[in-house]
């Protein structure tokens, strides 16, 4: 069965390692924080100016001055810090953030990503995504494998305006875990109950299948 958003978040959470500073994008990535192993130390950075984010506040304890990049009220953990936007992007551009997890509308087999604009229809803007993808050495994309019409979002070439070029290394979708390689998308894992054939059908870009493809453990 294809993963739901929580399933994707759970699978990505396994990529988070001890000692990582992690930037989580809006949407599925935000959920990842809930599923990181609790025997490792991780700090979450949000580009609006906070390091050491904690869970959402208890009802009645929200503070309008303490939010994440998704404009959600948050809390901070001991050791947290607040800073301005220039310093926040110093952390990002300066490669101090170890892992960036963000959503995408499309990803292409050379690692391009598109997630900020649908010409003529929707233009929300790139926010911090262009800075993140241009500088992060370790980017995981969380996304649905296909759009609502069933068309693949894992492509030979992106059709939408790009957010960054050649930057995506790993993709976790509702169907699979993929690695971006020189030769195309290498299939690493299948979602539980999803066949290689299912993934082939849902993938427009070049898919590399070598040997047995294990099922994800979540």
């Amino acid at each position: 069965m294809a993963l739901d958003k929580i399933g994707i978040a759970k699978r990505i959470a396994k990529e988070v390692q001890d000692g990582y500073y992690v930037n989580l994008g809006i949407g599925i990535p935000t959920l990842v924080a809930n599923y990181v192993r609790d025997d490792i130390e991780v700090e979450f950075q949000s580009e609006n100016g906070v390091l050491g984010m904690g869970p959402f506040p208890f009802d009645g304890e929200e503070d309008a001055d303490i939010i994440n990049a998704g404009k959600q009220t948050i809390t901070t953990l001991p050791g947290a810090s607040f800073f301005d936007s220039a310093m926040s992007f110093s952390m990002i551009r300066g490669k101090h953030v170890d892992l960036t997890i963000l959503g995408a509308m499309e990803v292409s087999e050379n690692g391009d990503i598109a997630n900020w604009k649908i010409p003529g229809k929707m233009v929300k803007g790139m926010g911090g995504a262009m800075d993140l993808v241009a500088s992060a050495e370790n980017i995981i994309v969380a996304m649905m494998h296909t759009n609502k019409a069933g068309e693949s979002k894992i492509l030979k070439r992106c059709s939408l305006p790009l957010t960054g070029v050649g930057c995506v290394k790993k993709i976790v979708t509702n169907l699979a875990v993929l690695e971006v390689t020189d030769k195309g998308f290498k299939l690493l894992e299948r979602a539980p109950g999803i066949s290689v054939e299912d993934i082939k059908k849902a993938t427009e870009g070049t898919l590399i299948i070598e040997g047995d493809i294990p099922e994800m453990s979540i």
């Binding site: 949000s46 580009e47 609006n48 100016g49 906070v50 869970p55 959402f56 506040p57 208890f58 009802d59 009645g60 304890e61 929200e62 503070d63 309008a64 001055d65 303490i66 939010i67 994440n68 990049a69 998704g70 404009k71 959600q72 009220t73 948050i74 607040f82 800073f83 301005d84 936007s85 220039a86 926040s88 992007f89 990002i92 551009r93 391009d112 900020w116 604009k117 003529g120 929707m122 233009v123 929300k124 803007g125 790139m126 926010g127 911090g128 995504a129 262009m130 800075d131 241009a134 500088s135 305006p161 790009l162 957010t163 960054g164 070029v165 050649g166």
Partner: protein, 234 residues
């Protein structure tokens, strides 16, 4: 001590006029200069260019200026959460320049710090870099982005004093510090104006030299855009 205190928002905004370029602090609705924005609405200036990470929501923040069609151009990184904005943009009434958030911050800081331009990797290979100079350093490509030029910067701080020193709270800091001193005139509104000498000199986020006018805002709604909470386990 050089006194930057003005009596109220009206006095603080002396000299603003149509077709000016403004910087406005805030991320979403967090840390926005509410009093200055409300005064700009009242003054009904037209043809404004606004440099601000976001564009408010339909009925708060910069959304208020948008509704009265006071804004000619927005320079932002993210403009979701605002239907009127999207309508004006898609219809072509509103000119919009979307730029990466880190680039936005650093183009402000460049203006503050006297740098003419910066090289950033953000946006390389995308339409953001179209028509811009690019350059390779150590095998990586960068885009040349220029310092902003603005007439006024409107920022909001938590505490401040008559010397213009500012302290921000939580993530309401965001773009406010990098806009101070990045325009010809910087107007700071604060939740609390404290006596000079009460702020610890070690803990001032923005020294008064970057601020030309400071006043205590009358009221702060501090609206929350996405109230998210967890339930107490019983």
């Amino acid at each position: 001590m050089i006194n930057k205190k003005v009596a109220n928002v009206h006095e603080a905004l002396q000299g603003v006029s149509d077709n000016m370029t403004f910087m406005l602090g805030g991320f979403g609705l967090c840390g926005i200069p509410e009093n200055s924005i409300n005064e700009l609405v009242k003054l009904n200036l037209k043809g404004l260019t606004c440099i601000s990470n976001n564009a408010g929501v339909d009925d708060f923040g910069l959304g208020l200026l948008l509704h009265k069609k006071q804004i000619k151009k927005m320079v932002s990184s993210y403009v979701g959460e605002n239907d009127e904005f999207e309508r004006q943009m898609l219809s072509g009434e509103l000119d919009v320049e979307l730029i990466p958030q880190g680039t936005l911050a650093e183009r402000c800081r460049a203006a503050q710090a006297g740098f003419p331009a910066i090289y950033t990797p953000a946006g390389y290979g995308t339409e953001v870099a179209e028509g811009k100079e690019t350059r390779e350093f150590d095998g990586k490509m960068y885009v040349l982005e220029h310092a902003f030029k603005a007439d006024f910067a409107f920022v909001k701080a938590w505490k401040g004093d008559a010397a213009g020193n500012l302290i921000f709270k939580g993530t309401a800091r965001n773009f406010n510090p990098v806009m101070c001193g990045a325009a010809k005139i910087t107007v700071a509104e604060v939740e609390e104006l404290v006596p000079v000498g009460t702020l610890d000199p070690n803990q001032i986020h923005i020294p008064g030299i970057f601020v030309q006018r400071i006043f205590q805002g009358e009221t702060y709604e501090k609206r929350i855009e996405q109230r998210t909470v967890r339930q107490r386990s019983t």
